[in-house]
């Protein structure tokens, strides 16, 4: 949910622009009394602004459409970030839309004004050098900032990296400098500001995954620092165990493994039953979801009980052998 405070409708009050995982940009218009309720931005045809994938609130399903990319074979790209940017310097805000899956950036032009916007509903890929802007390992959100102090707005953007595994490559923060002119931005190939996290630490030392960055002179010393939210992932160092404690750990792991095998058996049984109950039914239909959920609901007490038992073993084991930790924080990268 990258955010931008901008006077989007040109009424003299800052508005709060963002995009959420439903696949569309949202805005809470500001006023003297504060922000109004958030609403989704729409294009000139009255349709939701999006990239391709989105959550349909009526059908209660994740769907994909090619209307904004003019294709019958749309990629599975979901808009989870949005920025207001006057791309063509004509006095009104256009939109930059960031996709999660491929880390792409698109612009959608405003053919109206700030007070009465008319977004085209069509997305044009933003380039970084000769290639499409594409953040590796999925994009969190881009930011517009004059990073190099040359009077135009550059782009910085964070990536997710592997957000779950303690070993997979982590997220990073990248820069794409604007080498163009005021009415014709031209973004350069990506440079690395914060390299991908290698992880593997025994305490929180940096954001490792899901890096959302903002650039600001945080300490007032005249240069741009980075404020970065994200998940830290670490495994605390354990102490040397006695022989008795080692035996306890081994016993607990053996018991846990037995319960996990029973749990897996139950999950296979549930999956088979759900598959049989939904045979021949359209997987995207409400009927499919209802029947599938009904099977899983029937076994909820049993699956919960298994979860509690395996968690109890994990808690006991981790008192002696610390397990992997994962927690979110916000970090300051102070520019030297």
């Amino acid at each position: 949910m990258g955010s931008q405070f901008v006077d989007f409708n040109g009424d003299g009050h800052l508005d709060y622009l963002t995009a959420t995982f439903d696949g569309s940009p949202h805005i809470a218009y500001g006023s003297e009394a504060g922000f109004g309720k958030p609403e989704r931005l729409k294009d000139a045809n009255g349709e939701r602004i999006l990239i391709a994938s989105y959550w349909d609130y009526d059908k209660k399903a994740h769907l994909t459409t090619g209307r904004a990319l003019d294709t019958d074979n749309p990629p599975s790209e979901r808009c989870i970030s949005a920025l207001a940017f006057d791309w063509d310097a004509d006095g009104d805000y256009d939109l930059l839309l960031g996709s999660y899956e491929n880390g792409h950036l698109y612009r959608q032009m405003n053919e109206g004004s700030n007070a009465a916007p008319k977004f085209t509903g069509k997305n044009i890929p933003v380039m970084a050098g000769d290639a499409a802007f594409a953040l590796p390992a999925k994009m969190t959100a881009p930011r517009l900032v004059d990073w190099d102090g040359d009077g135009d707005l550059d782009l910085i953007a964070g990536s997710f990296g592997d957000s779950y595994s303690q070993n997979g490559k982590g997220g990073a923060v990248y820069l794409s400098r604007n080498r163009g002119s005021k009415d014709k931005p031209a973004f350069a190939p990506l440079e690395t500001l914060i390299p991908p996290s290698p992880k593997g630490q025994s305490e929180p030392t940096r954001p490792d995954a899901g890096l959302y960055a903002d650039a600001f002179d945080y300490d007032g010393d005249g240069d741009l620092d980075l404020v970065v939210g994200g998940y830290s992932m670490w495994t605390p160092k354990g102490r040397v165990l006695t022989d008795e404690e080692k035996a306890t750990v081994a016993s607990l792991r053996k018991k846990q493994s037995k319960v996990q095998k029973e749990q897996s058996g139950l999950m296979r049984k549930i999956s088979a039953e759900a598959t049989e109950a939904t045979l021949g039914i359209d997987r995207k239909s409400k009927e499919f979801r209802t029947k599938w959920s009904a099977v899983y609901s029937k076994y909820r007490d049993q699956t919960s009980a298994f979860y509690k038992r395996t968690s109890a073993f994990t808690n006991q084991i981790q008192k002696l052998v610390p397990g992997p930790q994962r927690k979110s924080f916000v970090w300051l990268y102070e520019r030297l």
Partner: protein
């Protein structure tokens, strides 16, 4: 989808946080050396930012910070959004000799309702 799995995991592991109502914020320093450069920029080792007595954004679902003067006192505050669409902010109380942030608070809209953006 990956985020759906994340939601289920988080719901099972949520903890209640006790926040100080009034407090000074100090930066928690982690040891290390400068890392990262873009050919011109180098950074000090990152430090977790504190808001009041707690770490800013701790435990939030993909916290995304943006610096913004929320209370219009000409001091830059920090606003935190997250994957749920929830919005909080920590107001800057002082800048010298070190940055001091107050306790993180929920942001509300002009009718007094918690500001929350729709998700799925």
């Amino acid at each position: 989808m990956a985020f759906r799995t994340e939601i289920n995991m988080t719901k099972r592991s949520l903890q209640a946080l006790t926040l100080a109502t009034v407090g000074c914020a100090v930066l928690f320093s982690s040891q290390g050396t400068a890392q990262g450069s873009d050919g011109g920029a180098k950074f000090a080792a990152p430090k977790r930012i504190k808001a009041g007595e707690a770490f800013l954004g701790e435990g939030r679902l993909y916290p995304s910070p943006v610096v913004h003067d929320v209370d219009r006192d000409k001091l830059p505050d920090i606003v935190i959004g997250d994957l749920f669409g929830k919005v909080t902010h920590a107001r800057r109380k002082a800048s010298q000799p070190t940055v001091v942030l107050g306790t993180e608070e929920s942001m509300k809209d002009r009718s007094g309702v918690l500001l929350k953006f729709h998700n799925w």
